[in-house]
């Protein structure tokens, strides 16, 4: 069913932010950055805080336009955000607080599914909530959930839309160690089951090693992706990444 030709490509992306007060030159974030992510691949983008990883993710998702270059998903250009690529943000506050967990998920399905069937949506919402282990919390409001549960719920909402790709911006970085590990396990299991493409931005080497197939290191001097590694989970790779991030 999945189309293997639905590769996500970013080609020659440039992005700089306008100069701050008192500065003459703008702040370069991306410079001639290219990347390619195959359908179903799990790619981590590893980089120091503030190096531009999040900007790259926003541009890939169509949230912000690049200054130059283009993004394509399969044959189609990505010009604005849509439900083919769902972003999961770092902040746990990404669920709408005025809706219950159930409401959040059904609302998202309702806004994106064409045509929308009520029973189908309910079935899908129920399945996704159970997959992230939140059955029984349907009627809870987001503020009643813990940080880890909120991120799981965001994952459930994203998966309920059956996206081609998940764009994840350090989604687990605000969680404590055990909660993070269990959220990572859930993500890995869902990725394997669903074959969804995942682009996962993180500054945590262990997290990248735990999750991804491929790890790209963001070269903050050149403002583009530097070396790219197949993740074999070896201590040698870990040492290499540590050296690169120092």
């Amino acid at each position: 069913m999945r189309n293997d030709r639905l590769t996500l490509r970013g080609e020659h992306l440039d992005k700089s932010f306008p100069p701050l007060a008192g500065q003459t030159e703008g702040h370069v974030v991306l410079s001639d950055l290219s990347l390619e992510v195959r359908q179903g691949e799990f790619l981590s983008i590893l980089g120091k805080s503030g190096c531009g990883k999040s900007t790259l993710l926003r541009i890939l998702g169509g949230f912000d336009p690049p200054d130059r270059g283009k993004i394509t998903l399969g044959e189609q250009p990505v010009l604005h955000p849509d439900s083919r690529m769902i972003m999961i943000f770092q902040e746990p506050g990404q669920l709408f607080p005025w809706m219950t967990l159930w409401g959040n998920i059904v609302y998202a399905i309702k806004k994106t599914a064409r045509p929308f069937h009520k029973e189908q949506a309910a079935e899908r919402a129920e399945a996704c909530l159970s997959e992230v282990g939140l059955t029984g919390y349907e009627e809870s409001y987001p503020h009643e959930l813990s940080g880890g549960m909120k991120q799981r719920a965001a994952l459930a909402r994203a998966l309920a839309l059956e996206p081609l790709a998940l764009l994840m911006d350090e989604p687990f970085s605000s969680l404590d160690y055990l909660t993070r590990r269990s959220a990572q396990d859930t993500l890995l299991r869902l990725w394997r089951e669903r074959g969804v493409t995942v682009i996962f931005v993180t500054h945590d080497i262990d997290e990248a090693l735990t999750l991804s197939q491929r790890i790209a290191v963001f070269d903050s001097a050149a403002h583009r992706l530097g070396e790219c590694f197949q993740n074999d989970g070896s201590p040698a790779l870990k040492g290499r990444l540590e050296a690169l991030l120092r």
Binding site: F63, P81, I86, F89, E91, G93, Q94, W98, K111, Y141
Partner: protein, 264 residues
């Protein structure tokens, strides 16, 4: 355990306690100090007059008249505020216009433009509605635009991710996300409108066949009916408290408190 502890826990109970204590002081000072009932009537006299006025029907009618007028004014004010706030989200020109308008009109007390309103609208119900609209519109607008501006970017990003149209972004995300601002704007709007209404009625005299609460209070002074005057004042307080508790607090409980958004 300290004696004051329960007062912190049960605010409405504590309030009732203090109101009772104040009423007791009132009654005692009337009975013990023998002040003239023309200046300070005993409570039972006030209650008797209030009951009489209610039974005669005029106080009842006047209360509902006042509340009806204020409801109209508030409704028009809120709808106008919504329209202006929505327009100023969509366009920079409109935003600077509403900003300037609010800056000019917000500090202007409703009662200050009464003479002008009389010249423009005469002294009918329309004039009072105009004053109430003025009193409610600007604080609600000020809060709404502030709320729309303060909507966390992440909700808008999620909305865009769901391919929402601009209208849906505004209506289904901005309006809901800024609900606590809307509520506090409404509270201020209501308080100002209520004040403006009572004073406007005193200045205008009777509007409609029997007039409203403000007129009732004013009339009691003319007849030197101090007990009636107190009855009117107590009613004004009671209505203010009832609206606060039954409308605003209830609304708050089943919206922003339930949503965990009352931090503002």
């Amino acid at each position: 355990m300290k004696a004051g502890n329960w007062m912190g826990r049960h605010r409405s109970l504590a309030r009732a306690f203090w109101i009772g204590a104040l009423l007791l002081c009132w009654e005692l000072s009337v009975k013990l100090l023998h002040v003239s009932p023309l200046l300070f009537p005993p409570i039972e006299e006030v209650l008797r007059v209030m009951g009489e006025s209610f039974l005669r029907g005029d106080l009842f009618y006047q209360t509902f008249f006042s509340l009806g007028v204020i409801l109209w004014g508030l409704l028009i004010g809120v709808v106008l505020a919504f329209l202006l706030a929505l327009l100023s989200v969509r366009s920079q020109v409109m935003e600077s216009l509403t900003d300037a308008l609010t800056a000019i009109a917000h500090p202007l007390p409703g009662i200050a433009i009464l003479p002008l309103i009389i010249m423009w609208f005469g002294t009918g119900t329309g004039a009072i509605v105009a004053i109430i609209v003025h009193s409610a519109l600007w604080p609600v607008l000020l809060n709404l635009t502030a709320g729309f501006r303060a909507v966390p970017k992440i909700y808008l990003d999620v909305g865009h991710n769901l391919s929402l149209r601009p209208l849906a972004i505004t209506w289904e995300i901005r309006v809901r996300a800024s609900f606590s601002y809307l509520l506090s704007g409404l509270k201020i709007g209501w308080a100002r409108a209520w004040r403006a209404l009572i004073s406007a009625e005193m200045v205008f005299g009777a509007i409609g066949s029997k007039g409203g609460l403000g007129w009732y209070i004013f009339k009691q002074r003319t007849f030197m009916n101090t007990a009636g005057l107190f009855a009117g004042i107590i009613l004004v307080i009671a209505i203010g408290m009832a609206v606060e508790e039954l409308v605003f607090n209830r609304l708050e409980r089943c919206t922003i408190q339930k949503w965990g958004m009352s931090a503002q």
